[in-house]
Amino acid sequence: MSAMEQAAEGTVEGHASKSAAAIDRAKAEGRAALVGYLPAGFPSVQESIDAAIELAHNGADIIEIGIPYSDPVMDGSVIQAATTEALASGFRVASVFDVVKAVTDATDAAVLVMTYWNPVMRMGVDEFARRLARAGGAGLITPDLIPDEASEWFEASDRYGLDRVFLVAPSTTPERMAMTVDATRGFTYAVSLMGVTGARAAVDESAQRVVAGAREAGAERVCVGLGVSNAEHVREIAAYADGVIVGTAIVSALRDGGPAAVGRLAAALSGGLAREGHPA
């Protein structure tokens, strides 16, 4: 049975997942995976593509492409400012598929789309999933969609073989952790702290606890995000998680120094990925 036939029957297993494969490749090299976030359309659609390609060429295994949205309640001021600017310069949701395709074609990275749920609902969950799969996208990260409300997304992601990355948080109970890990395909997104995106001075001590909780609930792959700002943070998290997610720091670099600065930051961040005894 081909992957697509499996997908059609809703039997896609973890190993068919593009983002899981990217994490496993990193693991085989004795390191954690680097996951980098950039919003589509900031500062322009083309520059967001260029920056994402730079990110992938300088060590990112997975690229998260954010869809600018009018009401980004999980985002802090830096990402809000970037996505507001993208919307003000006329960003349209359908352009995200162009970004995904361009980055997928030009790099080996798995490309996930990170989106608040209403734009997906507005296009139609099935239609969105179909177009994302056709563009070569790996799946979706959904900050305001919990598995409890995701029945349409389960169907569509099974039909098109897409990853479903749900978030778990320091406040997540063991019951919800089990339910969410079970619903996930690709990797479990462990939110490091109670808060929104934004640079932080240190990695919150709760991050390691969330990862342990996810693993206890059976998660095979867990990546940590929120507040991860530099190679030191990356090194700390890489010691216990399968992947490290960086957002605000990359968006700041793009804002201040363009795609080239994103490449330099990615290279610096990847320096922190190696695990003890495994020089990358």
């Binding site: 009401d71 802090g76 609902m121 507005r122 305001d144 409300e149 109670m194």
Partner: protein, 467 residues
Amino acid sequence: MRLVAENAPEAAAADFTSRAADTNGSGTEPADVFLSGSLRHSPGPYFGAYGGRWMPESLIAALDELEETFEKAKQDPEFVAEIAELNRNYSGRPSLLTEAKRFSQHAGGARVFLKREDLNHTGSHKINNVLGQALLAKRMGKTRIIAETGAGQHGVASATAAAFLGLECVVYMGAEDCRRQALNVARMQLLGATVVPVTNGSQTLKDAINDALRDWVANVQTTHYLLGTAAGAHPFPAMVRFFHEVIGDEARSQILEQTGRLPDAVCACIGGGSNAIGIFHGFLDDPDVELFGFEAGGSGVETGHHAATITLGRPGVLHGARSYLMQDEDGQTVESHSISAGLDYPGVGPEHSYLHDIGRVTYEPITDSEAMDAFSVLCRTEGIIPAIESSHALAGAIKVGKRLAEEGDASEKIIIVNLSGRGDKDVQTAADWFGMLDENGQVRGTTLSTRRPKGFAPNGDEGEENA
């Protein structure tokens, strides 16, 4: 043109039917609700295809805790008695039901009764919900409440409850609303609350809610988010309704007492829908009572400058619930417009979306100028200055009264209007609207005094030198 919300009633209806079947098994077909007998106590999380919890996982534990605390409190006679006592001795309930005889002449001659939520402590219905939730916050051991506010009435009510119950209070308010309702900003500060002006997005209510949610995620251990309307994620819509049910319960027995029968129509304005669902609650199961929700039509629904969410929106998710929503074809929220800060919201509570779809409540837009005309009529016929929000309900009642008059003897018809708040906060806006201000924004005729205020320096420069 994509910033104009689309009118897609067919699409919306189709959406509804397809979703009703698959809303995680919790969808209730309209017919079932009628068969099961009552529309008055829908518990959530779903109202037909609407409602739910479209929220970050980080907040789910807090929503669970709130739901559990609320469900327990509702069954606890001590809690129920505590609320009743505060309603009576702090808010001043029951609020009056006043017949507006001179106003009636403008409403086709139908008898109009005003449910006087404007007489509550703090000047609007908002206090009902705030006292309930603030008590729940204490039960959960939280020491800090945060709130969003549009007109400032919910912020004032929250600041009041916080002062009264010894809680810390932070209120998020759109910078544009701070300007429109400056008096209420000062009131909140006098009550000891911190007001945070929000400069994101449209700088109105929806953006204030976004910032309140960001605060809540970061401080959920100590903080309760005291949402001010019957919207948002479960359990907020059902819980906020519960605390406002007193409006409908009182109105129903008061009208029976005063007229011996139920009204023909009940009118309320719709921002997020809390005052409306509170008064509708009393009459939802009386099929002969027509229920009307009046949305803000702004400059007119055809202009794109309005907040007529149900009239022109289509289902989507915002702030935690699936409901009608003003959105463009990309699913981006469209900015709403209304002269009334309290109605200037592009979403609406999920129970109203459901009541619209099953046809139990009729939702219609009222323009800024229709509302201000009704505002003026009430001032001059009844000696009551209404909130501009409530003026939308009054304008609607004028239309409903005229329609009822066509059906027969108008003096036999009875309309209840939920007068959700008083207009003190709106005096500046109204004075501006009616051309009562001079070019410096001062009320005409108030700058003629030749007496010098104490400490007045006749010459600015000299004054500075002296200082």
